[in-house]
């Protein structure tokens, strides 16, 4: 079962998750293997088949506003349990949809995209600093790539237009160039044994891409939860265009968090040679557990945000609220979170 203070990951086949008094209780073959008070619990992630949940647990979580997310073996979030009374006021969603048509949408799309590219630069610099002594040429290449990425981020920030539909193509083109630089440079920073043929999204069968996709799936669950709790519509994004069944605002919000949560966790595991495995194109159960623990550890790590230390998980929640505040016209312009190296 998963560690983490506020997120509980259920990843064992055959686990039964029930409610016992004021606690969530996980049993395996009739033996209690974990208990967790509802107080302080923020999210339950079911990451295995063959798990059973009691309706009393579902009711207890719903009443306390604790979402339960379900993720498949390849990291695809396939379902969630939401409280029927949780989704809150519609005013935020009203403004969210209107923001799509005006300069607020442009500002958000620029912020999400440039935020991602800035964090790509940060992660390259973070990984490179350990190579300065033993591999100065690797260090220099990574630094050069990071500088190039910072250039792309600046160019994204000044793309102009009246609505997000007008500027999307320009932003995505710059983002595409940046992605090429980033993934090539990241590959150079992995240990030479790594089978890295470049980034692939859905349907990837190699180890690193499978691990990234699984981690991103966890991140999507986290961002979706944050977006729902902020009263936003997960399907009405800005940078990612409307498409049926695509949670485009989730995909928007994760952009600034991909590198410092998932990429950093996965690259760290790969470079430590911890023996992640794919079998028949799928991560093994043990590998999925290792990745989930590592990503969760990252989400529990404190990072600087608005002048204070906060867990990354909390930063994601705060940033979703920032989007809501911004579209409602109540706060300062939205700024992406950028990590430190």
């Amino acid at each position: 079962m998963g560690a983490g203070d506020s997120q509980l990951i259920i990843d064992q086949f055959g686990a039964f998750v029930g409610k016992h008094s004021e606690r969530l209780r996980v049993s395996l073959k009739g033996q209690v293997v974990e208990e967790r008070p509802f107080h302080g619990l923020e999210h339950v992630l079911v990451a295995s088949g063959g798990v059973a949940l009691s309706s009393d647990l579902i009711q207890a979580c719903a009443e306390r506003g604790i979402p339960i997310s379900f993720i498949s073996r390849v990291g695809h979030p396939y379902a969630r349990v939401m409280s029927s009374g949780l989704v809150g006021t519609v005013r935020t969603r009203r403004e969210q949809l209107l923001a799509y048509l005006d300069e607020r949408g442009v500002a958000l799309a620029r912020a999400f995209s440039s935020g991602k590219v800035k964090n790509q630069a940060v992660l390259l610099k973070y990984m490179a600093k350990y190579r300065k002594g033993n591999a100065p040429e690797v260090f220099e290449k990574a630094r050069a790539a990071a500088e190039s990425l910072e250039g792309f981020a600046e160019r994204i920030q000044v793309v102009k237009g009246d609505s997000v539909d007008e500027v999307r193509q320009d932003i995505l083109t710059l983002e595409g160039h940046a992605a090429k630089v980033y993934w090539e440079a990241a590959g150079e920073l992995l240990i030479p044994e790594t089978d890295w043929q470049g980034r692939h999204t859905r349907g990837a069968r190699d180890l690193v891409n499978s691990a990234l996709n699984y981690g991103y799936g966890m991140l999507y669950c986290q961002a979706e939860r944050a977006i729902m709790l902020a009263g936003l519509d997960p399907y009405a994004g800005f940078l990612h265009a409307d498409r049926a069944g695509k949670p485009s605002l989730v995909l928007d919000l994760v952009e600034e968090f991909r590198q410092m949560t998932v990429d950093r966790a996965v690259f760290g595991l790969v470079n430590k040679g911890v023996g992640l495995e794919v079998e028949g194109g799928l991560l093994t159960e043990e590998s999925r557990r290792t990745i989930a623990e590592k990503v969760n550890e990252r989400l529990e790590t404190e990072e600087r945000y608005e002048g204070k230390k906060h867990k990354l998980r909390t930063v994601i929640q705060s940033q979703a609220r920032r989007v809501a505040v911004y579209v409602r016209g109540e706060g300062r312009p939205y700024r992406a979170w950028v990590g430190r190296w």
Copy 2:
């Protein structure tokens, strides 16, 4: 366990709901008590505590677009499992939110409200016709009440204004007068043994109101499902104003269905003297099961809709789609469904 062709009601304490091949399987103490192919299944309603669900079942339902709703002992829908990929295109919700600001919202509010009042008249006439011979004075009173209701419905249909916020109070005032007429007249049509002190919503502890509230809870689940599948936001209603956590569009859509699904089912049970019971202000498990079966039977009943016979359940789904089509400006004005007596 529940009957019904397309909705499955899980109402037994201790039931385990799993997936077996292409079927949903319900077991009780290790014995299979029901199997249902996923094909043709449209909705799973968990109406008891102490039910366990497997993650494989949840995945199978999510992949097939079958929502799972949870309802408490007093009929309060407390949670639902939704597919992460189901909620569809955002264009409908965009138009839904814009419709709130213009004459589309006015037309919808008038239709929902007058639809309810017309169906109140229909149900009184339906119940009265069996009394014409043996109690002509009861019959006459009910007919007079029905005529009065038809008058209110006509007045609601001609309320004028530029936005729903402008007309809401006028509509609700007329609706309030109608409700008084309806519930008084309905009380006269119940058998004399009935303890009927008038209509109470939340917190009711008497039999008839508790039974109505439980039935309405089932109807809310049905309408919420229909609204989500139509791509509408359940929290952005017209007649019912925005309020945090209130699924106002669900409350709007159920108006035209309350009488012919729930009231008719509950009044029928009461008048047959089937022995519904409250204990300590709560319906007994047996009573809840009886009500759920009867309401479900009504939902499975074929009624006239757009010139053809359709199950009431299908009519609810079609009406939700009609709302979506209307706000998108693609179809004729929305008209409430009105039953026959």
